[in-house]
Symmetry: C2
Subunit: 273 residues, 2 copies
């Protein structure tokens, strides 16, 4: 049996009793998104903390391993109990969906243990969840790569008055140009996009496209470390949020659409000014 | 302190360790959405099961009590630790948002413990969460009240290719016409909308409006008891799903928008035919 267990958003205590029970009986425990855990409530000793709680060794499985070593994990799961731990909910990322599809194809039994993810916990800012449109991902711009496909999605949501959740880039295990040239397996330190960087990139794209989807005065909500004890939520115009220090990762951003009275009332508790 | 604790979707084991820790130290524990718990993994002895796990008496608080007795609960929370338990995530329903707004106004400290809710667990059907548009609620039609405002929202999502999650009506503590006439406080048994009823109503509205937003051949996904051990997910046309027995509540429905290859591949595992 393959148990795909959501860990939620904060630290080791955000696993559910159902999830913990499953993990405790597993022969092998893989932890995906180790870097997200580090960035959230758990520090550099994340695996030690988890191992203590689970009474099991925890093996860190990065994206590369999940994508390339999936067959091996699934073979193990055919004959024993294997846990695959993910930050948030198991259906938060396409990587996990891919693993589930492969499991189903191979006829490996799967049990999913759900948990909170940014996709529903974003409701903490007071905007009603059902009024969100398509969520977008904002990647780090480089000198030569400044993609703007997310602009059209924000525009589509905007035309029907919906909020847009922006998931901000996380770069882990990126090879430096130097390492690539030398053919070395050396990685840059993990890099997490801040709300400020995301806003800068968004405004740059509006400047280029000029389709008046949003501007410096557009109401947004910045959410940092959502679901942890140090979470920080601030509502304000893009201009206002540009200058706010949201602290350590992970950051997310909402571009606010049409609002109802209760949403407005709730948002006032988080206003920058 | 007011702890608003999400219980997730299944049974008592879906609470998080963080949530359980909070509940165990509370002087008063209120349980909202008792009927949802009954309908999901917990039977008629739901409160007993929870009391045993928490080591605390659990008081059932229906919507009426939450809306009218909120001040009393918040006053208690000013001077002691109070837990308010909700099915799913605390931000899944406007009632809870309202309680939080009131708490903030009164200056009562609040801590939210997130959990899975239908809004993110719906990803279990293989459709990517970020590609959902505005979620809608479908109420039970009566002889004289057949509202169709949700039709325009499905249409808006449809125009930009997004999936629509339909939350189906739950009627609890409804007074019968007879009881109302007699001025008695007698309630009808709880009533949960089935996927079949929802589809019937949806097709009736399309028949009336004729704006070609969907038809009998439109691909949908029915989800029953999501997140429980008896969950049932079936993908098929509206016509196909109309004849499927999804079993006991709670039911939800997705009207599928434009799909990506991976979504299609995942959906095949749930196809009706």
């Amino acid at each position: 049996m393959l148990y795909v267990v959501g860990l939620g958003l904060g630290d080791e205590r955000d696993i559910t009793l159902r999830g913990l029970e499953a993990v405790k009986k597993c022969d092998h425990v893989y932890l995906e998104a180790y870097t997200s855990l580090l960035a959230l409530g758990l520090g550099p000793s994340a695996t030690t903390t988890l191992e203590k709680l689970y009474g099991r060794p925890v093996l860190v499985a990065d994206r590369e391993m999940v994508e390339q070593g999936a067959e091996a994990i699934l073979e193990e799961a055919r004959n024993s109990d294997v846990a695959f731990l993910v930050v948030g909910d198991p259906f938060g990322a396409t990587t996990h969906s891919d693993l589930l599809v492969r499991a189903k194809k191979l006829g490996v039994a799967v049990e999913v243990v759900h948990n909170a993810s940014i996709m529903n916990a974003v409701g903490a800012c007071g905007l009603q969840l059902y009024r969100f449109g398509e969520a977008i991902s904002i990647p780090f711009f480089t000198e030569t790569w400044r993609p703007a496909s997310f602009y059209d999605k924000i525009k589509a949501n905007h035309t029907i008055g919906l909020h847009t959740l922006c998931l901000l880039d996380i770069r882990v295990k990126e090879q430096s140009m130097e390492a690539l040239c030398r053919g070395k397996k050396e990685y840059e330190p993990p890099k997490y996009m801040s709300i400020n960087t995301a806003l800068g990139q968004l405004l740059e794209i509006e400047e280029t496209r000029q389709e008046k989807v949003y501007n410096e005065d557009t109401l947004c909500v910045g959410l940092a470390r959502l679901g942890t004890s140090s979470q920080k939520i601030v509502a304000g115009s893009m201009k206002e949020l540009l200058d706010i220090d949201f602290g350590p990762p992970l950051h997310s951003l909402v571009i606010v659409g049409d609002t109802h009275i209760m949403e407005e009332e709730f948002l006032t508790f988080f206003r920058a000014s």
